[in-house]
Amino acid sequence: MSNNDAVSRRDLLRVAGLSILAGGTLTLAEAQHVHQIAATEGAYRPKALTAHEYRSLSTLADLIIPADEVSPGAVAAGAPAWIDLLASQSSELTNIYTGGIAWLDTEMHRRVGTNFVDAKPSDQIALVDLIAYRKNGTGELAPGVRFLDWARKMVVDGFYSSPLGTKDLGYQGNSAVSKFEVPQEAIDYALQRSPFGK
């Protein structure tokens, strides 16, 4: 990684699809992580999933945790790669994803005649809008609802356990400080909203 210094921050962000953060700042850990993603972007070879399955999972992952004004989305944070890594160590987990993605493809074919990943975003959203809720999980959509529950918790895990997700939440710890203090502003905020008042 001796050529790290030669890679400009802009290059990193561009390759990792992080232009949304142009005005933000990256810590060293985040920059290194982005670099890892960037280094493998396009070249990531899934270990458990096929290229098609991995592309489908990535599309689904960015639907579950999209980029917004605070942070990039699940793919930029490496969530699909992490899921694929775990799946490569467990046939049980692999089957959940291969089966779930195949179900998405079959259902999308039935609806609009394409695979899930090749469907228009509006068609993808129309399907995910249904399978993202347990109330739709009793009939024919049941396998989809069950799969989305898996994908949701694992994409969420992959995102928030990454440096980008940690920054999204605003976690400021894991540091060494000589004095521990609690900001009065935070205490006042909570008290004002609590049953105790100010």
Binding site: H33, V156, Y160, S161, N174
Partner: protein, 572 residues
């Protein structure tokens, strides 16, 4: 194959086990000029390598979910979380234990220098004066052969040496000690304190074995909240870093790691003359001769070693003429309840790490009430704050909120840091159905017979756990939280912890004045074998609503001073 250890000179004192008790005895004896041989069943501890302080989840490929995401399938690849320094587990490969049919018990064992003190919760509470006289107080249990006043000077010594936070409160159930300043309450802890005030429940600064001032050459806490991973600066108490490593600098410690004690060998006069152990590295059995032996393996393991030390003179095991070894096993009553607190939604971000544990806690406050329907009490531990993000933390929120996309992302951000957890730790009164014994049919991979556990809660503990649920509900609702879980069923795993799960097992080699009903005298010296001592929680007569470690430190300190004096006088 049996080999006599080549260093055939007789060790002054062999100490078996390097946790809170063994560490304290090592420290005190070496300070008094006595050489010790310390046996530890696990490997040497190398903090710079073994402690994963300040690591992020993403620095480990599975990030804490286990290979193949095993945690998603109900497994516990890291029983106390990624990077925990326990170096143990509920099941150890090749070292089984058994549980009697119909009973439930779990036994957490660490195998490393320092034992469970490398990762424990650091909660350091003195027992109250009345905790030493349970039978006199309410007719249940057995009185200790010592009083609070006997032990108080040793609480002083232990607190001064290891460093404990706290404040003078004058509460009888929670005697004051020698304290270092406790850092201020976090935001959620301020809310807990407000709620407790409304409910007339005390909620006071925490008493943790964490130094907030430089102490005996150790730097003060740097407030990273990662005590359970082991502390690279040694700013919390662990037997390894606080006691054993410094004691090694005296040149009086012969530390033998990977040494699994098998048996204490006695001579015709009944004295312990040697300790037989398995060298795990070479798989050979060795013996080390000694002038005195201190058993400090952790209560159950200590009783196992004594029960396995049979001879024609001691057919029921060493020091077991009373038949009490293995009996009187207790754990703490555990119950916990969490709620999301709306007042904490979108709380302005700040570093809320602090010490590795709560900054406030609730000592037992109803010790004068006689009409609770159960004897004894519990304390309450408080959890919450902006913890280090990691996988698993949002599973409950995902299931509750469902959906996806920007809406889900915004929701999770708003809820981060809003969960407050209250955990009770209550007194379990010994009962005849709760004990451990040697399983006649099972040995471990070293050929050493293993323990079989019997464990039963009684109505006392179940009612206490129900009281915890009602109290926690009141506190959390007073803070504005909503309790969504159904009223717990009074069974293990729902309304009360499974026996052993709180890892406060103790009482199995109890002390007393009467050799007919106890194994040890009031100095934790075996009634029947004058050069044999026990220095962990096995000698305890009761298991009050205080975590046992500080009392292990204090009692072991007292035992070590007594042993040193007996050796000086030539009586041992």
């Amino acid at each position: 194959m049996l080999q006599i250890a080549p260093r055939s000179s007789v060790a002054d004192v062999v100490i078996i086990g390097s946790g809170a008790g063994g560490g304290t005895v090592t420290q005190v004896l070496t300070e008094l000029g006595i050489s010790v041989t310390l046996l530890e069943a696990g490997p040497m501890l190398h903090p710079s390598k073994d402690f994963k302080e300040h690591w992020w989840p993403h620095q480990t490929p599975d990030r804490g979910m286990g290979a193949g995401g095993s945690r998603y399938f109900g497994k516990s690849p890291y029983p106390f979380g990624l990077y925990d320094a326990g170096y143990g587990d509920w099941e150890l490969d090749g070292e089984p234990y058994t549980v009697a049919p119909g009973d439930k018990f779990r036994w957490y064992r660490s195998r490393i220098v320092g034992g469970r003190t490398n990762h424990y919760g650091r909660i350091s509470l003195r027992f109250a004066d009345y905790d030493f006289t349970p039978h006199s107080r309410d007719g249940v249990g057995t009185d200790w052969p010592i009083t609070y006043d006997d032990l108080a000077p040793y609480y002083d010594k232990a607190e001064s040496f290891i460093g404990v936070t706290g404040s003078k409160e004058g509460i009888r159930s929670a005697p004051d000690g020698i304290f270092q300043p406790c850092p201020p309450p976090r935001v959620h802890e301020v809310l807990v304190q407000r709620a407790c005030k409304q409910l007339n429940i005390p909620c006071i600064p925490s008493r943790l074995a964490v130094i907030t001032q430089p102490t005996h050459g150790r730097p003060a806490c740097h407030y990273c909240a990662q005590c359970s991973r082991g502390c690279l600066t040694g700013s919390n108490y662990s037997a390894s870093q606080t006691q054993i490593f410094p004691a090694m600098k005296t040149g009086r410690v012969n530390l033998i790691a990977n040494a699994m004690a098998r048996e204490l060998i006695t001579d015709s006069s009944g004295k312990v003359i040697a300790v037989s152990y398995i060298d795990k590295v070479t798989r050979t059995e060795k013996q080390i001769k000694c002038r005195a032996a201190v058993v400090a393996c952790g209560a159950c393991e200590s009783s196992r070693l004594l029960l396995n030390s049979k001879s024609s003179r001691y057919p029921n095991g060493l020091a077991n003429g009373s038949g009490q070894i293995g009996r009187n096993l207790t754990d703490s009553v555990g119950y916990s309840l969490s709620a999301r607190i709306p007042a904490l939604e979108n709380l302005p971000r700040h570093n809320s790490d602090g010490m590795g544990g709560m900054h406030v806690y609730v000592p037992w406050w109803l010790w004068e009430k006689k009409d609770l329907g159960f004897p004894r009490g519990y304390h309450i531990e408080v959890g919450g704050g902006f913890g280090m993000p990691g996988p698993g933390q949002f599973h409950g929120l995902c299931a509750r909120h469902e959906g996806y996309g920007k809406d889900l992302k915004t929701y999770l951000r708003s809820q981060y840091g809003t969960s407050v957890n209250l955990a009770g730790r209550g007194e379990h009164v010994p009962n005849p159905n709760t004990y451990c014994e040697i399983d006649p049919a099972v040995v471990d991979k070293f050929g050493i017979p293993v323990l079989r556990f019997h464990f039963q809660w009684t109505d006392n503990e179940l009612k206490q756990a129900t009281h915890m649920h009602e109290t926690f509900t009141a506190i959390l609702e007073t803070m504005g939280g909503t309790i969504t879980r159904a009223a717990p069923k009074p069974v293990e795993g729902d309304g009360i912890s499974v026996g052993g799960e709180i890892i406060h097992e103790l009482g199995t080699v109890r002390m007393g004045n009467d050799p007919q009903t106890s194994a040890l005298n009031k100095y934790c010296q075996a009634h029947e074998t004058k050069n044999l001592f026990v220095a962990d929680a096995a000698p305890f007569l009761s298991n009050p609503d205080k975590n046992p470690t500080l009392t292990i430190n204090a009692l072991a300190w007292r035992t070590a001073e007594y042993l040193a004096e007996e050796m000086r006088k030539g009586d041992v």
